[in-house]
Symmetry: C2
Subunit: 215 residues, 2 copies
Amino acid sequence: MKFGVLGTGMVGEAIADRLASLGHEVRMGARDPGNPKARAWAAQTGGRASAGAFADAAAFGEVVFHCARGSAAIEVLRAAGRENLRGKVLVDVSNPLEFPPGAPPKLFTAAAGDSLAERIQAELPEVRVVKALNTVTASLMGHPEKLSGETDVFVAGNDGPAKAKVTELLREFGWKSVLDLGDLTAARGMEAYLLLWLRFSAALKTAQLNIQVVR
Amino acid sequence: MKFGVLGTGMVGEAIADRLASLGHEVRMGARDPGNPKARAWAAQTGGRASAGAFADAAAFGEVVFHCARGSAAIEVLRAAGRENLRGKVLVDVSNPLEFPPGAPPKLFTAAAGDSLAERIQAELPEVRVVKALNTVTASLMGHPEKLSGETDVFVAGNDGPAKAKVTELLREFGWKSVLDLGDLTAARGMEAYLLLWLRFSAALKTAQLNIQVVR
C-alpha cells in the first residue's frame, strides 16, 4: 500500500521506517522538497522509499500520517493541500504540547478544552482523521515488542471504516490490543494523557514505557 | 491511627470503610454534623467509627482525606478549618471535573492549566497536600485485588515525608506499586488523565479498571 508521511523528525522517521520494513511504498514529505533528512532517508531505505514536499507525500499516500509537531500541524496540513488529502485516512500522531520556559509543559488546546485532532478535522472536514499512537514515544510506535509486557494503544475518530483500517495497520505494527475509544472527542483524553506520560517518563527516567489497561 | 474523611459520597465511604477495616479510628465529616449518611455509616461500622461536621473530622484526623467532589473542594476545606488542618497530611482524592450538558466532561482547571491539588495547596499553604487515588474508581481505591492483574497508583506532593506516609498507607490498602511522580504539579497529569479514564470506562463499559505502567 502507498503511504505519505508528513514530517522528517523522530516520529516521521519511525513511522516511515516501520511502513517501509513491512513492504509498503512510503513517501516522506517535508516543507522543502529538497529537505536533506528526507532525501537521506529515502536513499538509505532504497527501493520503494521516496521523498518530496508535504504536498507530494499527501498526493502519493492512500493513507497519510501526520507526524509533524503539534504546534505546526495546521500549517503543515495546509501545505499538504486539501485536494491531496480529500477522502483519505489521515492518522494524527501529534500532540498539542507547548513548553513554557521554567514551567511544566502544557497543552495549547487546554483553554478551549478541545483537541488538536478535532482542530485538524475542522480544518479538513472531507478527510477521515484518526488519532493514534500519540501516547507512545517514537521508537515504540512500530515496535511494541520492545516493552517487557503487553500494553495498549488507542484509536479515536468519527469514521468507523477509517478506524478499522488504522487498527489493522497497528496490528501489522505488532500491537495486539488496540482499544477504540469512540469519536474524535476521545482525542481530548489521549492528548491530555501526555501530561501524565511526561511525569511517568521523568519518574522512571525513560521514554520507553506504555500503559496496559487492566480490568 | 486517627483519620478524618471529608465527604460522605461513594469515595468518602470507600476510604472510610477501608481505613476502619484496617483497624484505624475514622471520623467521617459532612457539611451538616447531623448528616444522616455519616451517622448511619458510623453506626453500622461501630467501635472506632464516628461522624461529625467537616471541622470535627479535620480536627480528629492525624491524616485527613479530601473526598468531596472537586467543584466543592475549596468550600469544604474552608469549612474544615485552617487551624484544624495545620501541619497535617491532606490526601486529595478529588477530580476537577465538570459535566457540561450535551458535551464531553471537562476539567474546570483547564483554562488556567493548573490542578485542583495545587489550588488546595495554595489555599492551605501550611498543610501537606498529597494527590493520590484520584485515578481509580471508589470501589478500587482500597481494594486493588479486585482487578485481574497488578496495576499502579501514583502520589504527587511537595513534602517528601508526607508522600512516604501516604505511600505506606496505600501499601496497607493493598497497592504493590506506588509511583512517586514528583512535586504537586504532577497532579496536573494525574487529573488530566481522567479525560482518558472516562473514555476507557465508556469503551469497556466498566469503571473497574486501572492502568499498569510497563517498561
